[in-house]
C-alpha cells in the first residue's frame, strides 16, 4: 500500500536519505530504527509531505504522493504523530480529536454559520467519532480539560486519537514511547496492536525503545547515515553484524 522508491533527500549536499526503498502492506506494523541522524525523521517528513524529495518518490495505493501538500496526503489516509507531540494545547481534549475528525465530516462556512445543510449532522457525527476514540484511548473522563494540562503519557494517547480521527489507512508514529516508563510503554504496545486490528491500519514507527520495536514490529528496517543497512524480522535484524556495528560503533 505504501512504497518508497529510490527516495533520496539531500540538504545542501548532505545526504539525509539515500535511495530508500520500503514497502508496507495493509495491516503491517513496520519499525524504522537507526542511530540519531540516520534519516528516520527525514523519511517521515518526506512521506507526510513536509519535505520534497531530491530524487525518487513515494507511492500510496498506487498514486504518487511525494509532490502533494501535507493536508492532501492526510486526506488520502496517512496520519502521523510527532516526536514529543504536537497537540493544540489550549484546545480541550475533545476539541483536539474533533479537529481531526472534521476531515471526514466537512462543513463549509455558510453551513457553519446558518446551521443548514450538513452542519448539524456532521457536527454530531464528528463529535460522536471523537468520543468513541477518546473511549478507545481511555481519555473520555478528561475530555473537557485543555490538552496541555494532561500528563505526558496521556498527551501521547491523545495525539494517537487525533490521528485516528482523520480516518487513516496508514499511521506513522515518531518515537511514540519516548519519555514513557516501562508500564506506559507496555500499555502503548497493547494500544497500537488494538488500533491496528480494529481499524485495519498499517503502522510505521520510528523508535529507540528496542523492547517495543522487537515485540511489536513484524518487520524492521535499519538506517544509518541515510542508508538502509538491514531489513528483516526482529530476529534477523538483531543477528545482523552491520546493525550491531552501526549501533555499538556509533554509541561507544
Amino acid at each position: 500500500m505504501l512504497e518508497t522508491h529510490d527516495l533520496t533527500k539531500s540538504f545542501k549536499g548532505l545526504m539525509a536519505l539515500k535511495r530508500h526503498h520500503l514497502r508496507v502492506g495493509p495491516g503491517e506494523i513496520v519499525g524504522v530504527i537507526g542511530p540519531n541522524g540516520s534519516g528516520k525523521s527525514t523519511l517521515f517528513n518526506l512521506i507526510s509531505g513536509f519535505l520534497r524529495p531530491s530524487q525518487g518518490g513515494v507511492r500510496f495505493e498506487g498514486h504518487e504522493i511525494s509532490r502533494l501538500a501535507p493536508a492532501t496526503i492526510a486526506r488520502l489516509g496517512i496520519a502521523r504523530t510527532f516526536q514529543g507531540t504536537r497537540l493544540f494545547k489550549n484546545l480541550s481534549v475533545l476539541e483536539n480529536v474533533r479537529a481531526g475528525a472534521q476531515l471526514r465530516y466537512p462543513v463549509n462556512l455558510v453551513e457553519a454559520v446558518s446551521g443548514w445543510g450538513r452542519a448539524r449532522a456532521h457536527q454530531t457525527a464528528s463529535e460522536g467519532r471523537a468520543w468513541g476514540l477518546l473511549e478507545l484511548v481511555g481519555l473520555a473522563e478528561v475530555a473537557a480539560q485543555p490538552a496541555g494540562s494532561l500528563p505526558y503519557g496521556n498527551q501521547r494517547r491523545l495525539e494517537i486519537a487525533r490521528a485516528l480521527a482523520t480516518g487513516p489507512k496508514l499511521l506513522m508514529m515518531d518515537e511514540p514511547a519516548a519519555g514513557l516508563d516501562s508500564h506506559e510503554t507496555a500499555a502503548l504496545l497493547q494500544l497500537i496492536r488494538r488500533i491496528r486490528d480494529q481499524f485495519e491500519l498499517a503502522v510505521i514507527l520510528i523508535e529507540h525503545d528496542m523492547d517495543l520495536v522487537m515485540n511489536l514490529c513484524e518487520r524492521i528496517q535499519v538506517l544509518a547515515y541515510g542508508e538502509t543497512i538491514a531489513e528483516g524480522t526482529p530476529a534477523e535484524v538483531q543477528a545482523d553484524p552491520r546493525v550491531r556495528e552501526a549501533y555499538l560503533g556509533g554509541v561507544a
Binding site: 492526510a74 496520519a79 497537540l87 489550549n90 476531515l103
Partner: protein, 301 residues
C-alpha cells in the same frame, strides 16, 4: 451630584470609543494569530466599508441596506487582499509579510485618493441616528450613534465568540491559530480557515468603518489610519493575537484616552493624549510584551 454625572458622561464616551477600538483590534488579532501578520491594510477595510456604504446610499439604497452592502464589500475586499497580496508571501519571513502589508496600505489609500479624491465627503445619516438623549439638564448626553456603536460591537463580539467556540469552522480557526503545521497535518483546509478569518476580520472592520464615519460625519481615503494605529496599540496592550486580549485592550485604551482628556486643564496633559498612548505602547512592549492577559509570544519553528 455633578461629579457623578460627569463620570457617567465620560464612561459613555469611553465605552463608545473603546468598543470601536475593540472591534478593529479583534480583526487584527485574528489575522495575527493565524499568520503572524500585522495587517496594516486592516484600517483600509474600514475605508472600503464606509465608501461602499456611501455609494450604495447615493445609488438610492436606504441606510441600513447600504450598510449591509458596505459590510459585504469590505469582507470581499478582505478576501481579495488575502488572495492577491498575502497568500503569495505566506511562509516568508515575518518582515516580508509586514512590508507587504505596509505596501498594501499605501496602494489602497492612494487608490482611494485616485478614485474618490482626498477631500472628505459628507457621510449621509438618517435623522434617527443623530437623535440625542439628554439627562440631568443636558449634563449627560448621548445619541443613537453612541448607543449603536456599543450595541453593534457587543453583538459582533458575541457572534464571534459563538462562531469560534461552537462551530466547526471556528474550531478549525482556533486549531490553526495554535499550530499551523499540526493543522495541516490533521487535514484541515488551512487556506479556507485563513479566508474565513479575513472575511470575519474585514467585515468587522467594515462595520467599524461605518460607525467611525457616522461619528465623524465624513469619509475620506485615509480615515482608516488613525483607528488602525489605535487598534494596534489596543491589541498589544491586551495581548496580541488573543481575541479577549483585543477586546480588553480596546476598552482599556478607550477609557484611558477619555481619562487623559478629562483630566483638569491646568495639568496640561490632554494635548499629549496620543503621545501618552504610544508611550504606553512602548512600555508594554518593553515590560509586558504579552499584554494585560499575558499572551505567550512563542516563536514558531
Amino acid at each position: 451630584m455633578s461629579d457623578l454625572e460627569y463620570v457617567l458622561q465620560q464612561l459613555i464616551n469611553a465605552l463608545s470609543i473603546g468598543s470601536l477600538y475593540a472591534l478593529v483590534a479583534v480583526g487584527l488579532s485574528i489575522i495575527f494569530s493565524l499568520l503572524r501578520l500585522t495587517n496594516f491594510a486592516h484600517g483600509d477595510m474600514m475605508m472600503v466599508g464606509a465608501f461602499a456604504t456611501l455609494f450604495a446610499q447615493l445609488a438610492g439604497l436606504g441606510f441600513l441596506p447600504a450598510v449591509g452592502v458596505g459590510i459585504l464589500v469590505s469582507a470581499l475586499a478582505g478576501v481579495i487582499i488575502e488572495r492577491v497580496a498575502y497568500r503569495p508571501v505566506r511562509g516568508a519571513p515575518d518582515v516580508t509579510m509586514l512590508l507587504t502589508s505596509v505596501a498594501l496600505t499605501y496602494i489602497l489609500e492612494n487608490l482611494g485618493i485616485l478614485l474618490f479624491s482626498s477631500s472628505p465627503r459628507n457621510f449621509p445619516l438618517p435623522d434617527w441616528m443623530n437623535h440625542l438623549y439628554s439627562f440631568a439638564d443636558g449634563r449627560i448626553t448621548f445619541n443613537n450613534i453612541n448607543l449603536l456603536t456599543l450595541g453593534v460591537t457587543l453583538l459582533a463580539l458575541l457572534f464571534l465568540n459563538w462562531f469560534v467556540r461552537r462551530t466547526q469552522v471556528g474550531l478549525g480557526m482556533r486549531a490553526a491559530a495554535e499550530d499551523l503545521t499540526a493543522a495541516h497535518l490533521v487535514g484541515l483546509d488551512v487556506n479556507r480557515v485563513i479566508v474565513v478569518a479575513f472575511v470575519l476580520a474585514s467585515a468587522f472592520a467594515g462595520v467599524a468603518g461605518v460607525l467611525w464615519a457616522a461619528q465623524a460625519g465624513v469619509v475620506e481615503p485615509q480615515m482608516g489610519f488613525t483607528p488602525l494605529l489605535k487598534a494596534f496599540v489596543a491589541a498589544i496592550i491586551g495581548g496580541f493575537g488573543s481575541i479577549p486580549g483585543a477586546i480588553v485592550g480596546g476598552f482599556v485604551l478607550g477609557a484611558l484616552e477619555v481619562l487623559i482628556q478629562s483630566l483638569p486643564g491646568d495639568w496640561g496633559l490632554s494635548p499629549y493624549r496620543d503621545a501618552l498612548v504610544f508611550a504606553l505602547l512602548i512600555a508594554f512592549l518593553l515590560f509586558r510584551p504579552g499584554g494585560i492577559l499575558g499572551v505567550r509570544q512563542e516563536v514558531k519553528l
